[in-house]
Subunit: 249 residues, 8 copies
């Protein structure tokens, strides 16, 4: 589309409709006009057909409301991530239509049910109950991004029977997100059971030598399963984002 | 298929063809028979329709030749990775049909050209010439795994014009592999230019605070582009493996 | 000047105005007399023609007021850095003339507008809104130190178009300060667009593998752009200080 | 026993057989007499009924031969660990009776078969072929220390079926040693399959984020299986030593 | 037992009591049925004859009470670990029969005295008073798991005489748990005094270069005493769990 | 002395005053009798002629009062270190005679002035005002341990003239304690100015790459001045303890 | 200039000289044409008026010769950095006109003396003789980039008198490069003596806790002197590059 | 003395013997004249009455011989440290009078026996035979610096009886150097046995989690014995240097 807008500009110059100076100015600035009042980049959403995403930490409730309003005014669905309870309460005072998922720490401004656009389902596999907030973020984001999602909880590697009992769910997925803290071994095991891409999310769950997710992160990066890639510690959003892109291919 | 073999076993038990004790024994052992002489797992290849892969480090030339022979005897194509020149020379003395890609450190036993099975192309983007061995590994593996591959070299972030000049190649790819050492910033920039999954490969290129790839690894994990996932330092093979799985979806 | 004061001392000794013992004493102590009551070194300010700077953390409001009073009494402009809101409030109770910049965490005792002494302008480039406090500190300090400053916000590397749209601002600067957290890639990209010195400031913005600014720090130290030097994590003040020295050359 | 020797000493003093000065001297020195010529502590072997162990690194062939001779002269069996091929060759020139296990890097001076003293068997489980030298050290040491040993190789977590096929071997063991590099996930999986103590040995196998065994070490320390304890990276000897003590209980 | 259930299933299939489809289904799912309402794995307890253990962090008081009720309803003894005072108070409001050990941070639902099942005693050796909470956890768990326990406190390596005065207690134990922070040297010294397995628990006690237990952890992993294995920082529970398994052998 | 007590014991046995069994018992237990009620080791104080020291963190006010009472009852002077204001207030309610030094976080039970026992003076050199609490701890401890102490504050390496102005104080000291955070360069500079032992104390002062004192610690350990040894981060007490021992030689 | 080329293109389109399609194509590709045969970016040199720089590691002698020839053919001066002796010898066989500086590991293709373009002098200050190769690289590069350079060697902080004796050289410089390994304290001290920008270069000199330059790097980043910025470990080239840019302002 | 030289200079100026310009010049340069040809600082030796020390790494045999000659010509004794065998051989070709201690890696130019100047003896305590080179360096340096030295070898903490048997040697020392690798626990134990200053030297001995001496370093820094200070990993020289200064007090 950008290319088209440039072509159109050039045609207008050719036909004498506009002057060289104007064309030069437009060429320099064209694709970068911001939403007024919010300085939010709407290009990504336009390009990928996804809702806008606002990362909450470091923003005041006022700022969040303002940005959401600007984007809603522009007809966009909006997802706010990493929303602490206090922020959620204050935003909903002003914008009561917001859908709040506490465990996933998400605020959603959009249709209650998003029709699936992805071609298959995404399995979100969660090692322990403490990893649930990160897994819930992945699920919540993936659903709002138009994916069918299956969530498996409490299937850590020290109790293999549960995981194996769910192997059909695993094999049915088009792409998998595996969330684990502590030693982060679950992606290796899941990766060995399927022949689909596995996105591993280390969590900061654990104590001592878990070092806030470093043990899990290193374990996932050095996984002996070749179909595993890794995102940042606790980054359920990022995993869901990439899984969405893959599921739309 | 395994399920089918179990069903068949149960049918034979039901019909009295075999005894309970035998069935019990078979159920315990069934899907795990190894290739004789090599103890190589052929399940993955069977499952995913990919060539067998042998990781060379820590194996003697004799062992490599032996494993390759066993697999070739079983009708498999074989790819050997991380092959140092000396090992390559010694293997080719005995198996002169091997195709050796020095830069990529690959030995290939299979058809000269592998017909593309992947649905689109994979772009391999390489920050600098020092990162080339890792990028070449990614390319070489992806091609043998049946993908169309485009390689872009020397498009580091400190010289954006080159990268931008290639943006159509980037946008044409179905999945991208971005290889970079030092500060590892390239995946963030490429990730912002496309709306496809980007697999980032940090390399051990650099000195001092590069810490053998750690700086690049951390940079990629904390990328501000949401469509980036990461594999281990120098793991061109893993990136190509996952890209292949995605490209077949 | 010190040399001149020593010469003068020696002349007075030679002429018999003072005794050997006094000269000896003076030679030992001469250039090190402190401001009474505050033990603040005024040499730096005298030497470089800059306001005095007081680093607030670890000082009580009383101590800050006392030091400021001593320095103001000596005719100095004073800048207090890293001022938390509570400290600012308590200082302004007693010294209501103080100018407080909340975002930049600065208290300023001096003229509302400082006339530019620097020869060109300093561009402060800020990757994301979360990095703004550090960028604001750099701006606020640079302005009080007599520089013309241009601030660019929200021009992260995953959305190159915004940065490129501002390339004339970048090229117009005599020295640039680039502030970024997470993967810290912005200085490499900016460094490739200009041929002026770039001072990179990593911020502690980010989570997980950002490790409180370490990822950004390592990324900046290993930048593939040769015109980048680095200061400590979150050290907006230090960047502005060096940029000022450069801008006065 | 020491207590007995002290009692005997006191009795002799009481009866006037020896003088106070002599008793005082003996009390200070008694249990610490060294083997002449070798300064090797024989207490451990005497106490625990185990062969003497000599750690080779940092010792010359001459020193190894000398120490072995002294110990053999004292009637002890001797095990030398971490023996590089060159050292082995030079020691065997002078002491051809030594039994050399190349993979395990052990030299053994003692009976070809050591009768089992341990009450059950020790299972040594090895994730990949690259981990074999460490696993072989554990096996070799455990056998010379009088244990029945079962070795399972190539049962990594990304190919669970092999491991599960061997679950009876696992369950039959009285204590298990699990050796793994890279992400070090195997002890967690094995730990979940048995209710016996599992000693985890991280290996330095792997590259990049494996950090020479650190990833495996952290993974094992943070294992979600409660029956896992850990020894140092590559410390097959230590694992066998502790497993022996447990197997004799 | 599982094996028996499978045999029984096969017998019923053989006799025509059930159909192939049902048998297939049962074979896939059999050993993994969860306790209704609590999703808690009761296999471990059944297998090892131990109480169920609930790790409190990240669970609400309601969840803890619910899980405990489900397990108590199933006739299980239950131990809750890492219980903060506030949680303990709230749980005991609803379940006043709980036995609360504040120092050890344990809640116990079971008989006041658990009859010893372990064959010998476990010595818990604690370097300093600051390490006491971790040592108390180890003691409290070991006692509820049916072991006779001896606790030695304040026997750090810089005051050897106290430790040596207790050497009979050390030698009388069948297995030892040694808890230490700071430099973590105590396991090496204790390991040299006994010929039994020593489980070392580093604690997060200390400041500066103690790095939250890392100094102690590294010290224990590199111990020059061969009979030492290590668990995670502050993991008194894990040490007691393994010691229990060893003590039952 | 211990040797003498043993000799005396042996003499009494020889003379028949006591029995072998009693002697045996006494020999095992003799030098390790604790102060009743407090389990505090009084050996160190007796041996070195120093006050008892109680490290406050992790102790309740009640415990501190109890320990102090026991020691005071035994005629000992007592120093409590790392005392937070709240603890100090609560202890002084019950023991109003305690001397509280807030900056140094010390409580002192003993004479207002301790007569110097050390042979010379100890210079405590402090880089910046933020390092003052650690330096004050070193001073406060050294004075109560009977040393003459000189304190130099605010003599950081970026303003050498102040340090050089005090060089006579530095040269007059018998042993020096140098306290610095951030880059920790001061001990190197001081070490080059004197030929006496310098004890370097890194502090946790600083931010970003100071890493809580690690930068200073590494800088001090790698000092190019050969007369520098190092203690733990913020360990003003330890530095004063060693300086006292040296000053008494 | 680029802007001018675009304007010219637009004028030609306007006048009908070229077609819209061609203009579109040219707009996409224009400023990014590479030097034929060498793929070397000549933009930087053109922009900044500096010689081309080739980083040698990872290039074969043939590649170095080829790149140099291409650049020399284009009329450029060329500097090759990090040249090991063997590479230098092989390059000079083919290109004997190359000027080789062994200590600095530089090969230079250009005039023997480069006329100073920088406005003042650059002082390169080197802590110890072991840091000399890095300092020599900085000097050699700065001279070929057209700067007057003063080198001070062996002026470490533990022997302040030498540094102070050279203070006039320090004060005369327009910008300073300070090279130091071990504790890296020299930039702090130099920074306190001058009011010019100081570029600190940590070196990998040292052992133990120097950690290959990390101690020096952290020390420089946390310097208490505000006029210090830092480049990567051993990066003498980068320091000279930035110093050149500053010296030309 | 410097003060005296300045006074003398001032007297000569007062009396008209010299001019103001000369006095000024002399005041600036006076105490910093270097030894011609060698640029070696002789101040330290003059000040402290110690031999000159040359650190060999990074110097050619020619440089070492040249420096030694210059210093010998100036009447100084010289000690060269960290001398590898090849360097030693080449130096002794030209200077056969050098005394070479291979284990300690020292070359000595001075009297065969140095008369003790230190007031007491220094005990060097060495944990294991692998730590011997570092301990030997400490001994060799301390003896050439005029101290009486006692060496205890192989007294690691896992075999306490040997250490305790030597406790009189420990108690007789005026200052102790304790050398240990691996967990570095020995200084804590020795520190508890004596009331003299203990200088701890971590060594790089060990593997895996020893991390090249880091485990020992951290252990020593966090020692629970208050009389322990620490030097850099493997820094036997530094320990001996400080011990010498203490022993002369």
């Amino acid at each position: 589309m950008d290319r088209e807008r440039v072509r159109e500009l050039l045609e207008r110059l050719r036909s004498g409709e506009i002057e060289v100076g104007d064309a030069l100015e437009s060429l320099a600035r064209l694709p970068f006009v911001d939403v007024p009042g919010a300085r939010v980049d709407t290009h990504r959403a336009l390009r990928a057909g996804l809702p806008e995403v606002v990362y909450a930490p470091g923003k005041t409730p006022e700022q969040v409301v303002e940005i959401v309003s600007a984007l809603r005014g522009a007809g966009q669905d909006v997802l706010v991530t990493r929303v602490e309870p206090e922020l959620a309460a204050r935003v909903r005072e002003r914008a009561p239509e917001a859908d709040h998922d506490e465990t996933a720490r998400l605020l959603w401004f959009g249709p209650a049910e998003v029709a699936p656009v992805g071609k298959g389902s995404i399995a979100v596999v969660c090692a322990g109950t403490s990893d649930l907030p990160v897994a819930a973020e992945a699920c919540g984001v993936a659903r709002r991004f138009g994916n069918k999602v299956e969530l498996l909880v409490d299937v850590g590697v020290a109790g293999l029977h549960r995981l194996l009992a769910s192997s059909e769910v695993l094999r049915a997925a088009r792409v998998l997100i595996v969330v684990a803290g502590m030693e982060g071994a679950l992606p290796s095991v899941v990766g060995g059971l399927v022949d689909k891409p596995v996105i591993a999310v280390p969590t900061s769950v654990g104590y001592g030598a878990a070092f806030g997710g470093v043990a899990a992160l290193l374990g996932m990066l050095t996984s002996c399963a070749s179909n595993v890639t890794v995102v940042n510690i606790d980054n359920g959003f990022g995993a869901a984002y990439v899984a969405t892109l893959i599921n739309r291919l």
